[in-house]
């Protein structure tokens, strides 16, 4: 019985991951970083990393999950949580519908229970294709529910951030999600549970200034833009051009805000290792 469900779940995630596949159609894909063209198949097989320069293409949430979860372990959480328009902001509903049509997602966050390398865990992923992965009330709620689910079931938590920051159209309620998610993590942490935060392109604004920066362990994908204020705002403020590599993952590692920069191809193994290292305390 169990294996039938597992197979079905594996198939479900595989289907969603394919739909998510971010690599544009056509036989050749050109890399926005090095400008060189590669076979579409080679890029897709290499987890959407440019075979020439190692640039990490942004990827969708289900595809991300399919690259790290054990086959058949995927079980989506709070799938039906709806998107909202709390301020009745003009034109926002249309924007939401357009994003939903484009991505097949209801909102910018997907959360799931699953396993990595045999270790059970809860994983949340933001999807930058959905209104820049911005933090709406629904995103904040979904992340918080995932944190609470992990706390209740004593499971480690892995969150992949990919967000331009606040969802403007939800105003102050977007801001409040920063407090809500951070407070939920305080409770989670007090239970002695592990939270791994993975920062991907881009992690900025309110997401950086809340759950993304609060991991016990913080990993980042190579080249990811990570910061509080966006580069454009900083440039306007200080009136000079920013140094090369400013706010990139490697910069954040150098300045002490990231434990390790981990390429996508090694992410699964790294997470698996970290989860194993936390399976029991050193004193027990």
């Amino acid at each position: 019985m169990n294996s039938i469900f597992a197979k079905r779940r594996a198939r479900l995630l595989a289907m969603k991951a394919i739909r998510d596949n971010y690599v544009p159609s056509g036989r050749l894909v050109s890399c926005p970083h090095c400008g060189q063209e590669s076979e579409r198949k080679a890029v897709a097989q290499g987890l959407s990393v440019c075979p020439k320069c190692g640039y990490h293409f942004p990827i969708g949430a289900y595809y991300r999950l399919s690259t790290i979860l054990d086959p058949g372990s995927f079980r989506e959480l709070h799938e039906k949580l709806p998107a909202g328009d709390p301020l009745s902001f003009p034109g926002y509903r249309e924007k939401l519908s357009a994003a939903q049509r484009k991505t097949g997602l209801t909102e910018a966050a997907i959360t799931a229970a699953g396993a990595i390398g045999g270790c059970k865990c809860v994983v949340g992923v933001l999807d930058s294709r959905f209104l820049m992965g911005s933090m709406s009330a629904a995103v904040g709620e979904k992340i918080t529910l995932a944190i609470e689910y992990a706390a209740k079931n004593k499971l480690p938590l892995v969150l992949f951030a990919a967000s331009g920051g606040a969802r403007m159209q939800e105003g102050i309620l977007s801001l409040m999600q920063m407090a809500k998610t951070s407070a939920a993590l305080a409770r989670f942490s007090a239970k002695g549970l592990l939270y791994i935060s993975v920062l991907t392109e881009p992690t900025t604004g309110g997401v950086t200034a809340s759950f993304a920066s609060l991991g016990d362990i913080i990993l980042a994908e190579p080249g990811a833009l990570i910061g509080f204020a966006g580069p454009r705002v900083i440039q306007q403020t200080i009136g000079q051009t920013l140094p090369e590599g400013f706010q990139r993952a490697e910069f954040q590692e150098k300045h002490g805000f990231v434990d390790a920069v981990v390429p996508r191809t090694e992410m699964r193994d790294t997470l698996s290792q970290l989860l194993r290292l936390h399976q029991r305390g050193g004193l027990s």
Binding site: R75, L77, H78, E79, K80, L81, P82, G84, P86, L87, F89, P90, A113, A137, A138, G140, E141, L145, K152, A166, M168, Q169, E170, G171, I172, L173, S174, L175, M176, Q177, M178, A179, K180, S182, A183, A186, R187, S189, A190, G205, G206, T208, A209, S210, F211, A212, S213, L214, G227, F228, A229, V233, I234, T237, I238, L242, F246, Q247, H255, F257
Partner: protein, 274 residues
């Protein structure tokens, strides 16, 4: 209360003569001792903090400082804190918890400073840490938004049991100019943004984002500062008396629940699939 447009309130909130944190400290507290430094690497004058007596009782005060003269403005970076400011604030709040002092914060900032150094020293991390730690403080925390409260830079001092706003203060995700420029690529449409953002005290009270509105004299707090201070004092005193009856654990639990509810669809907070 007066009926004003959101844009009019923004103008009053930014009025140069509007009372500053130093005015509040002088009018409402005695024996103020300023504490400086984050004990990690620096001191940020954009955040002012210390210990004082409030009606004879020790409290910790933390708040953003804009400065009154141009020289002070420059020194205080126009009230836009760097990470050191937030880390100092956290240090003082933890100390307040140690010595069982209530925390009172005063907020008037256009936001956290978006500078090169601020990014290098972890502005995002500093704010995030404050949100997390404030949510579980076991002493009463009251935040008073006196002027502008913008972005995570304001929220980092406002995870409080009671968030109070002066009648003409504003509290928002970012400045109306920034909002208009992000959403419509046109900062000149800030007037329009003001009306859509729900950033006024009455709006936010209705949305249960804040817990109370402190009335101002008819022309705004700057037109009759003494009267304004008296009202602030009365409100603060009442809320502090209420909170002081609760145990630390009860306070932290209630504070958690208050923020937990924000933006949650009805009932979904309790429901769990699977």
């Amino acid at each position: 209360m007066n009926i004003r447009t959101a844009a009019e309130r923004v103008a009053i909130a930014r009025h140069p003569q509007r009372p500053h944190i130093t005015d509040y400290i002088q009018a409402l507290f005695t024996d103020f001792f300023e504490q400086r430094g984050d004990r990690l690497c620096g001191e940020d004058p954009a955040v002012l903090g210390g210990i004082a007596l409030y009606h004879g009782r020790p409290v910790t005060i933390v708040g953003t400082r804009k400065g009154k003269t141009l020289e002070e403005n420059l020194q205080c970076n126009f009230g836009m804190p760097n990470p050191e400011g937030y880390r100092k604030a956290l240090r003082l709040m933890r100390q307040a918890e140690k010595f069982r002092r209530p925390v009172i914060t005063f907020i008037d900032t256009s936001g956290a400073y978006p500078g090169l150094g601020a990014e290098e020293r972890g502005q995002g991390e500093a704010i995030a840490r404050n949100l997390m730690e404030m949510s579980r403080l076991t002493v009463p925390v009251i935040a008073v938004i006196t002027g502008e409260g913008n972005s995570g830079g304001a929220l980092a001092l406002a995870v409080a049991d009671r968030v109070l706003m002066l009648e003409n203060a504003v509290y928002a995700i970012l400045s109306p100019e920034g909002f208009a420029s992000i959403l419509w690529k046109d900062a000149a449409r800030h007037g329009e943004a003001c009306e859509l953002m729900h950033l006024t005290a009455p709006d936010l009270l209705r949305m249960q984002v804040i817990d109370g509105v402190i009335p101002e004299p008819a022309g705004g707090a700057h037109t009759a500062p003494t009267a304004a201070m008296r009202t602030v004092d009365r409100c603060l005193y009442r809320h502090l008396a209420e909170l002081s009856k609760e145990s630390g654990a009860t306070l932290a639990a209630a504070r958690y629940q208050k923020f937990r509810r924000m933006g949650a669809p009805i009932q979904s907070g309790q429901k769990e699939e699977l």
